[in-house]
């Protein structure tokens, strides 16, 4: 009983945090179809920025986090206008090479500026400690992070599935020429969406920092976990990516708890099985001709 409760609680909260990191990539890679392997770089920059604002400028946590997210979103627009705009029509391989290279540049810069070690994010008092959930003690922070994650997932789902902005974006990705002919400002739409993806990356990086500590190698270290979620969810599927992230979180936690030495491999087994069974994503809509 306690084992099951542990696996479900930790698996769920770990999965939701992974989901938040992956959501930005679901937007840029899933919706915009750019193989954006530099996603983690934006997350790491967000983490470093938030920590610097708190440590060096003395900003409170609740102010530093949104400021860092906004700053990374703005940086995302710059990166999109200068770099990514040249990638939209290039081959997948070109996109992979450029974005991986971008990762290396960011890793080297972060090492130069902040040193090779991890940096600690100091949580405010109200997020520290444990709360009693009735069945067992549980970290307050994981509950809060999971709640923020659910709220953001809900908002994104609403924007992309229920508003005309979401419909415009999907239309622009599927047929850019026609969308432009209909009078849509596709470059602006793409910049805004990319900024959203980068901002989400930064938020994910910051909220995950107490569990996945911020360090210069961050962009590559957690890339695989995030790519697993995006790949299994399929292109731009927000609801599916939540389901997949929760499954990944629970499988990871259960695997490491029940079979500590080999548990790390379970996730890759899951990846293989799901990719064979549902190559287009877990909950893909049925294709209409």
């Amino acid at each position: 009983m306690t084992s099951t409760a542990f696996i479900l609680l930790y698996g769920l909260s770990y999965g939701l945090v992974l989901c938040l990191i992956a959501l930005g990539l679901v937007v840029t890679m899933g919706l915009m179809r750019v193989i954006n392997l530099a996603h983690g770089a934006f997350a790491a920059i967000g983490g470093y920025l938030a920590i610097s604002l708190m440590q060096q400028q003395g900003w409170p946590y609740a102010l530093a986090v949104p400021s860092a997210v906004l700053a990374v979103a703005v940086f995302g627009v710059v990166a999109e206008r200068l770099l990514y705009v040249h990638l939209y029509k290039r081959s997948d391989l070109d996109q992979v090479l450029v974005t991986i290279g971008f990762n290396f540049v960011v890793i080297a810069l972060l090492t130069m500026l902040f040193g090779p070690n991890i940096v600690r994010i100091e949580l405010p008092g109200y997020l520290k400690g444990n709360i009693d959930l009735g069945i067992r003690e549980f970290e307050t922070y994981r509950v809060v992070a999971a709640a923020i994650c659910l709220a953001i997932i809900g908002a994104l789902w609403w924007v992309f599935e229920r508003t005309s902005t979401g419909a415009r974006l999907r239309a622009a990705v599927d047929n850019r020429g026609m969308a432009q002919a209909m009078g849509m400002n596709v470059p602006l739409l793409f910049s805004a969406t990319f900024a959203l993806g980068c901002g989400l990356a930064a938020l994910g990086g910051i909220l995950a920092a107490p569990m996945l500590p911020i360090e210069p190698m961050w962009p590559l270290k957690y890339l695989v976990l995030v790519l697993v979620i995006v790949a299994l969810a399929g292109h731009g599927q927000i609801t599916a990516s939540v389901a997949v992230a929760v499954i990944v979180g629970i499988v990871e936690t259960a695997g490491r708890y029940l079979f500590p030495q080999s548990g790390g491999f379970l996730i890759y087994l899951l990846l293989i099985v799901l990719m064979v069974w549902r190559p287009d994503g877990l909950l893909t809509r049925r294709r209409t001709a």
Partner: protein
């Protein structure tokens, strides 16, 4: 009349030979030392500490010894690639003509480099790699750190003396981790303790909560851990703290929470015990000079650690070898021989090079993390094992 002329010629020839020889000597005036370490990548903390140790020693003792200038060449072994470390060592020996090598973070890197130093007869100072069997691979290896079983055995004995009877071992799932596990379990059970469990933590672990949960369920009263410093150690300690284990269980590690890393931890690290061969806050003159150089040149939070003290001592031995061979061309075999049984004062205390194993006879320190009145966390020495002899090689 022809004879004196021939003599004259011979004289000129002899002078020419002498001149050439003296020029060879002047070319030899500088001695090069190759330092291979992870200056970038996931283990960059260790590599940068190597470099701090070398630079501090040279800044404090000058760059000339025995009439020769000492020049250190750094090569980056980046990640975990033994073939790269070997290639770098080859390049340093063949192209740069280094007289000796130093550094090396991982045991496989040292093992891969053994054929190079054996062929070239170049002494190699192992600063960090700690697999006991390495020393059998080359008579040119001199270890500046430890064999990894030593602190684990001391930890097991100490826990038994403190009345701990339910042991648990959690180690990173790679070679050195397995050795720590083996050494602790053997010693702990030989001294009458009972092992209630063990777990090997994969190196790619990001969420450590499942491991803390397993450990808590086994209800041990002493936990030996061995994990890479940095993200893994910080994450693991946090998971243990959340599960209440840092309060309930005596936790003994090795280098997970060195003074230089303590700012990365929150206050749940207080009370963490570790056994290693250095004390970053030692008051001896050598350590004071080194620590002073670090705070002046690296940063206010910089402290000596096992990596930087190892590199610092490697430079001390390099200087001794060069001084011993002043005026001669450098002979690696004779140089290593001159070190056997040599005693010197290191920042870690007095050390002697054991002639049989080429490892250090040195103090081991049991340290506990405390918070001083100024709010700064540091490792305070609780017990010293004086002049511990290395385990003989089988």
């Amino acid at each position: 009349m022809t004879l004196p002329f021939a003599r004259q010629l011979a004289g000129i020839a002899a002078a020419g030979v002498l001149f050439a020889a003296s020029c060879a000597a002047c070319a030899q005036e500088s001695v090069k030392i190759g330092f291979v370490g992870p200056y970038t990548g996931p283990f960059a903390v260790a590599g940068q500490s190597f470099r701090q140790g070398v630079e501090a020693y040279m800044a404090l003792h000058g760059d000339k010894v025995g009439g020769r200038k000492v020049e250190v060449i750094y090569r980056d072994s980046a990640g975990a690639d033994p073939t790269l470390a070997k290639r770098l060592a080859e390049e340093l020996v063949v192209k740069e003509k280094v007289a000796m090598l130093g550094g090396f973070y991982l045991s496989p890197e040292v093992a891969a480099t053994a054929p190079v130093v054996n062929a070239a007869k170049v002494p190699l100072f192992i600063v960090n790699a700690a697999t006991p069997g390495l020393m059998k691979m080359s008579p040119y290896f001199v270890r500046m750190g430890q064999a990894i079983n030593q602190p684990a055995e001391l930890a097991a004995s100490y826990a038994r003396q403190q009345g701990k009877s339910r042991g648990y071992v959690a180690v990173a799932d790679y070679g050195p981790g397995h050795l720590v596990e083996e050494a602790f379990v053997a010693k702990f059970t030989a001294e009458g303790g009972q092992m209630v469990g063990n777990v090997r933590v994969p190196l790619n672990t990001t969420d450590f909560a499942p491991f803390a949960e397993r450990i808590a369920n086994a209800n041990p009263d002493v936990l030996q851990i061995f994990l890479p410093p940095g993200a893994a150690s910080v994450g693991f300690n946090k998971a243990l703290a959340v599960r209440g284990l840092t309060q309930k269980v005596m936790i003994i590690g090795q280098g997970e929470a060195e003074d230089s890393d303590l700012p990365l931890f929150d206050d749940s690290i207080l009370g963490f015990k570790s056994i290693i061969y250095i004390d970053a806050n030692a008051k001896n003159a050598e350590n004071a000079a080194f620590a002073g150089w670090l705070t002046r040149n690296v940063g206010p939070n910089a402290r000596p650690n096992s990596f930087s003290i190892g590199a610092y001592d490697a430079m001390h031995l390099a200087y001794k070898m060069i001084a011993d061979q002043a005026g001669k061309s450098f002979d690696g075999t004779a140089a290593v021989k001159s070190l056997l049984g040599y005693t010197f004062k290191s920042p870690r205390g007095t050390v002697t090079i054991d002639p049989a194993t080429r490892e250090l006879v040195q103090n081991f320190y049991l340290r506990e993390v405390v918070k001083a009145s100024d709010g700064v966390k540091r490792n305070q020495v609780a017990k010293v094992w004086e002049q511990v002899k290395p385990t003989p090689l089988k």
